[in-house]
């Protein structure tokens, strides 16, 4: 093993990338490779695990260990990997269908157990690989091959599901915001426990432009608020807008700096350890309130595989018992040679 610092390129595999030209996945791939170089990850220690979907092709494009599993089950495979070897640096890459439709339960339990992996959900609000059916995050009215008259199911909010499951780290990124995405992924990587990152990803073929209402260049400022712990929740052109708790309620509202006596001090300061705030931020949908990007919530907790290791160590320390003793514990008797 050499100590030469790896660059993003060192994480690029020799496999031809097979996403549609223009797919948002390319940018995310780049951001992940950049992040790995930044955090000085080792290729041999890094494992990408995925289910099935366009997003789930991700591991093939990484020059690291890669396990392309079956639809929805990547969280379970990842859990098994961590149980076998807690020292591995495991990333799960999933789509909105993979993570929230067939794999919803494994996702919930991964998050609940707080297994130390990075979980990236590429949310394009559509089933890409199977050619465009609506997904659990598709908005009501989505026309798709299986809903030609428009979908009627209420969508899930990935971040709210994660919070409901007891997530300890919830963040959001956008495929076309490379810098912020790398920053967010870096935080996710540093976090010990399940770090959940929802990434809004444009599917150019089946759901093109579904996020432009907040990702278009001219919309970013007014429709996105990039949240940072300890910093006021400001956004808008020249950060002229801010969020505050609507007095006497449990909800947020937009205020304009300088208007009606609002000063910088009135703006709510982001506290990433406040779950109620995180839920309110996650709930903002870009309609009245802007979409929150960045680390919405971060509060470390017990880590599953670490606790298991502790238990094993505690129980085995001082024990000299071997398996022969186990077999001989309890009542035994001897039959003598006759």
């Amino acid at each position: 093993m050499s100590d030469i610092k790896l660059t993003a390129k060192d994480f690029v595999s020799d496999q031809e990338v097979r996403w549609c030209p223009g797919c948002g996945d390319y940018a995310i791939l780049k951001a992940v490779q950049r992040t790995l170089a930044d955090v000085e990850a080792k290729t041999e220690n890094t494992v990408f695990v995925s289910g099935i979907g366009c997003a789930a092709r991700f591991p093939y494009y990484m020059k690291t260990y890669g396990f392309h599993g079956i639809h929805g089950r990547a969280p379970s495979i990842a859990t098994g990997i961590k149980l076998a070897n807690p020292d591995l640096d495991v990333w799960v890459v999933s789509g909105d269908g993979d993570a929230l439709s067939i794999g919803g339960n494994h996702f919930v339990h991964l998050v609940r157990r707080n297994v130390d992996v990075q979980f990236l959900l590429f949310n394009n609000e559509i089933y890409g690989l199977t050619k465009g059916q609506f997904s659990p995050t598709s908005r009501v009215g989505t026309r798709s091959p299986s809903t030609p008259h428009g979908s009627i199911e209420n969508p899930l909010s990935a971040a709210l599901v994660a919070l409901g499951a007891g997530a300890h780290f919830v963040a959001r990124g956008v495929d076309n915001a490379q810098k912020q995405l790398v920053a967010t992924l870096t935080r996710a990587h540093a976090f010990k426990g399940t770090s959940f990152v929802e990434i809004f990803q444009n599917c150019i073929v089946f759901n093109d432009g579904i996020f432009t209402e907040f990702t278009a260049k001219d919309k970013v400022a007014v429709k996105q608020v990039y949240v940072e712990h300890g910093k006021p929740l400001l956004f808008g052109k020249d950060h002229a807008l801010g969020l505050r708790i609507k007095p006497g309620t449990l909800s947020l509202e937009i205020v304009t700096l300088g208007e009606q006596g609002i000063s910088a001090d009135d703006i709510l300061v982001h506290d990433e350890t406040d779950r109620a705030l995180a839920a309110l931020l996650a709930d903002m949908n870009g309609d009245k309130l802007p979409i929150a990007i960045g680390v919405l919530y971060c509060k470390p907790g017990h880590i599953f595989e670490v606790e298991i290791r502790k238990l094993v160590q505690r129980e085995s320390s001082g024990t000299t018992s071997n398996l022969n003793d186990v077999l001989r514990a309890g009542h035994t008797w001897t039959v003598a040679d006759t």
Binding site: K42, R73, S76, A84, W333
Partner: protein
Amino acid sequence: MPETPLNAQIKSPSRQTLESAVVRFSGDSGDGMQITGGQFMLATAVAQNNLSTFPDYPSEIRAPIGTTFGVSAFQINFGSRVIKTAGDNFDVLVAMNPAALKVELAGLKIGGIILLDVGSFQERNIHRANYEIDPRTDGSLDAYRVIELDISKLTLDAVASLGLSKEKGLSKKEALRCKNFWALGFVYWMFDRLRTPTVDWLKTKFAKRPQIAAANIAALNAGHALAETMEISDGLSSFSVAKAPNIEPGLYRTITGAEAMAWGLAVGAKLADLRLVFCSYPITPASPVLHALSHMVEHDIVTFQAEDEIAAVCAAIGASYAGSLGVTSSSGPGIALKGEALGLAVSTEQPLVVINTQRAGPSTGLPTKTEQSDLLQALYGRNGEAPIVVIAARSPGDCFNVAIEASKIATKYMTPVMVLSDGYIGNASEPWLIPDIDQLEKFPINLHKEGEYFDSTVRDEVTLARPWAIPGTPNLEHHIGGLEKSYETGEISSDPQNHQKMTDLRAAKIDGVVRDIPDQHVESGADSGKLVIVGWGSTYGPISRAVNNLQEAGVDVSHVHVRHIWPLPQNLGDLLAGFDHILVPEMNCGQFVKVLRDQYLLDAKGLNKMTGQPFKIVELEDAIRAHLEAAK
């Protein structure tokens, strides 16, 4: 009453010598029949009899007291000869309440002995047991020898003699609960068992509440004493069952199939020098394997109770991928759920052990009853061509060997191996000669090391196993998954010829496991002849006894017991072809017989039973005789 010393076996002159006997303890779920039976088993093992047991729990957790569906029983067959099953009909029935009598009577041999706690024969209990009138009054017990005793009262009397009270730490309820030990003491006298192991056990078990131990011991002794008295005064029969001459010397314990499976896996992982990562979701009757391993953290055994069976198998796959021995365990419905993921394990060639402790189906079926109806699911319950290895355990203790063998094959061939057990052998227990694991052969793991050249397709020339290159190893980074892989590069390939090649490879690899499988031998009887009975799995016991009985009666019949369901032993077809008739008893509608017919084009016939109950020996004897008759 003169107390007989605890550790004295009384050579009563009137003791009738038996080659073997079957005793069934039966009572309400709350009556402690499993403990009673367990203790009787222990005393019997110490007496160096061969033995086999069958615990028969109700499916309800705690059914209302006194109901027939709340009856819990424990049956033991023991003798000086080789014991192969827990016995068909029993010689002695201990019935702690009317419901137990109601449920069990049909299983008692005509002329058999019933020890009845008449203290429980109140009107209310009799009705709860669905008796119209008291069975002691309607002649229905005439064919048996009934010992009616108010065990409840006798127990209270015995315990009272200790001078304990609620204030002194023993309530009346607790005193009454000792009645199972009273009955046990009585039966101990009848069969001349030592009380010492039980007394020791009680003292250890209730170390923190010595008054409970004392009360139970008092009850045990009182039952024993009364039996002794009754033998003299009332002509109570008593028996002696000689030591079995053929018991291999060594250190013994009793073991259930679930324990044996758990320990076999632990030992298998140790022999492979791997961490065991056992991933499971609770389900009857598979859970005890999970429970047993959960107690073994100090041996670096990780047990993971997953959110469902799919998560469990996938976590096990992940663990194997990352270099541990991944194991998953369930019963029929749970195994059904694992089908898709097993295909992934086949496609990615993971060393994975899958335990199926079968139960009666279809669907939820009869969760606490036994069956062998998942064999075809084991072979074919996956999409695509996804061959795996299948091995079946034949007895509680055999689960240990099978688990080790499965671990070995899985890691040697980089393949999933399914182990078939069932509710019967999972719960049943038998004496077990404890092996010294330091004497067991270690098996080398094909783990690729740092720096070594890596190409995911460099296969072992003999086994065709892919190399096991685990994350964390520098320079061996690679991709793996459930899409078809190029034979050359290991990366995705949709090339038609490559798919053919990989399909052939996967089949050849499993077929090749035959190298590690001993040739099929004949269990008993001639190597060829008129009729062979072919069994697999837990039917070993009854078939083997039934065939022995028939052989002794001069019938030309052999017994072949197949452990390796897939691949089959190389010589099996030729062996079976040497018989005029082939009969395959199975607790299903004929699954293994399908495989044999397909593979060897031999006109094997099924002998099928689907009652949730193991075969009885006489049942088999009759069926075999009938078959021979019909074949004439």
